[in-house]
């Protein structure tokens, strides 16, 4: 059995390590040992779900040892993590009956498999998004519309391109160490076929030997290519990038062995990384910082 020690602070910055496990594991049993987790964000939660789902998809099995810290477990409950995790993991530890935790929950862990799920997410987020974006980030009241448009487009990416299930979650929290201010983290991941395979039939031949995960991400992220011949397609990611840039936020997409990012001045991430552990599916992370 593989044992993976889940990082104590499982957030958007270290979730790669969880996704790497999904890439490496074949069909064996894997234990995600989360006993020492003290902090987890939406990317961490969905990363765990995706890693477990990938292992299960390959015929393996995944176990999750719950954190010792009861606040973290209660927060996982609050975020709806266990609703999804029980179908993926054999859970070791006691799931609390009651939820507790942050008031910055913008969107609980929500599965996305069909367009109706996207509608439900957009309906759901209206309840809290306006208040949180205004009070935590200092964004204007109208920003809830742009946020909803971003959310709709990233969720549709799962339904239209991934052809596999995925999850979305969003949370506002104080990113004290990194930025000294509040951020909203929006995380969307799927266990579908990834960008390269989605674009392969339509575009691979044109790229010849250069075709790979990194070029596929560049094609979609920078040039708006999609597998559909319709010229009206491919605007979603382009416009998300534009809006995220207006808010001085960051957006990264990891798929296959590559990751591409639009990097604001406060971030030191590389704009393009190749040679990562193969991750089937796609991971989209958006970080929106509070206005200074």
């Amino acid at each position: 059995m593989n044992v993976f020690a889940v990082p104590a602070e499982l957030d958007v910055q270290v979730v790669d390590r969880v996704l790497d496990v999904a890439g490496q594991t074949k069909t064996e049993q894997t234990l995600f040992d989360a006993r020492h987790v003290r902090w987890i964000d939406p990317s961490g939660m969905i990363g765990l779900l995706v890693a477990g789902a990938v292992i299960k998809k390959r015929g393996g099995s995944a176990r999750l040892q719950l954190p010792d810290n009861s606040d973290v477990v209660a927060y996982l409950k609050r975020m709806g993590f266990f609703r999804e995790a029980t179908g993926i993991f054999e859970i070791l530890g006691r799931v609390p009956k009651r939820a507790s935790g942050s008031s910055g929950v913008l969107l609980e862990v929500t599965p996305i498999t069909a367009n109706a799920d996207v509608h439900a997410v957009i309906d759901d987020v209206q309840k809290r998004a306006g208040r949180i974006l205004a009070s935590r980030l200092g964004y204007p009241a109208t920003s809830v519309v742009q946020f909803s448009v971003i959310l709709s487009e990233v969720c549709q990416n799962i339904v239209e391109h991934a052809e596999g299930p995925g999850w979305v979650a969003a949370q506002a929290y104080n990113w004290t160490k990194r930025l000294g201010r509040y951020v909203v983290v929006l995380s969307v991941m799927d266990v579908g076929r990834g960008f390269r395979h989605s674009l392969n039939d339509e575009h691979a031949a044109r790229y010849g030997d250069r075709w790979g995960d990194a070029t596929a991400l560049e094609a979609a992220f920078l040039h708006g290519l999609t597998r559909f011949p319709d010229s009206g397609r491919g605007q979603g990611i382009q416009q998300i990038r534009r809006q995220v840039q207006r808010w001085n936020g960051s957006i990264t997409i990891r798929s296959g062995s590559a990751r591409i990012a639009q990097v604001p001045e406060w971030d030191s991430a590389a704009p393009l990384v190749d040679g990562l552990e193969i991750f089937p599916g796609a991971q989209i992370s958006i970080i929106l910082p509070a206005l200074t």
Binding site: S152, V159, E160, G232
Partner: protein, 190 residues
């Protein structure tokens, strides 16, 4: 002038398409279903029609739906010779505008929009001269060419009017020779 007027409430069509308490025009299949419902109404109207596509009740409009309900709707009707359809989009909020502008630019289209405050604008691909000609008609119309020539003596006026007519953001009456702003037609007919 034998234009059939149509008033199409997109909020109602969204309500028939998805089970939701809110009128969010999101996801491509929803946009496609709404566009097809509009097209069915237009097909019944036949001949020449002018439609007010009312977005007043739409809270969230994403890019996929803007592409379907605005760009593809216009594009489809510019191509067909079966009937001549004119559109004015009503209740366009500031929060819709970016999405509509982007999808129109992408397909090199233009559209007449009436904002939620009642202001009329030409969105999409339009040069400054065309915009001025369009605005003049909007403010002063109906007009014949000679009326325009008083304010726009440039030789390029004719081409600008042809382009605006070709994109169906103005209406030209072949009998009277008058040009009409779509908003004026809507006021008269609806």
């Amino acid at each position: 002038m034998n234009l059939t007027p149509l008033m199409i409430d997109v909020g109602v069509l969204v309500g028939k398409t998805v089970t939701s308490l809110h009128f969010h025009l999101v996801t491509r299949p929803t946009g496609r279903a709404v566009r097809m419902a509009i097209e069915a109404q237009l097909a019944r109207a036949g001949g020449q029609s002018i439609s007010v596509i009312d977005l007043s009740d739409v809270t969230i409009l994403d890019f996929s739906c803007a592409d379907e309900v605005v760009a593809k709707l216009l594009q489809g009707h510019l191509k067909t010779e079966l009937y001549e359809a004119f559109f004015m989009f009503r209740g366009v909020r500031e929060s819709h505008r970016d999405q509509i502008q982007v999808v129109l630019e992408r397909q090199a289209l233009s559209a007449v929009a009436e904002t939620d405050t009642g202001e009329r604008k030409l969105l999409g691909v339009v040069d400054a001269y065309e915009a001025r000609v369009w605005q003049y008609l909007e403010d002063q119309g109906p007009l014949v060419v000679e009326d325009f020539e008083i304010v726009f003596p440039e030789p390029m006026l004719g081409d600008a009017l042809d382009r605006l007519r070709g994109r169906r953001v103005i209406f030209s009456n072949p009998v009277s020779g008058q040009y009409h702003a779509l908003s004026q037609l809507v006021q008269e007919l609806l």
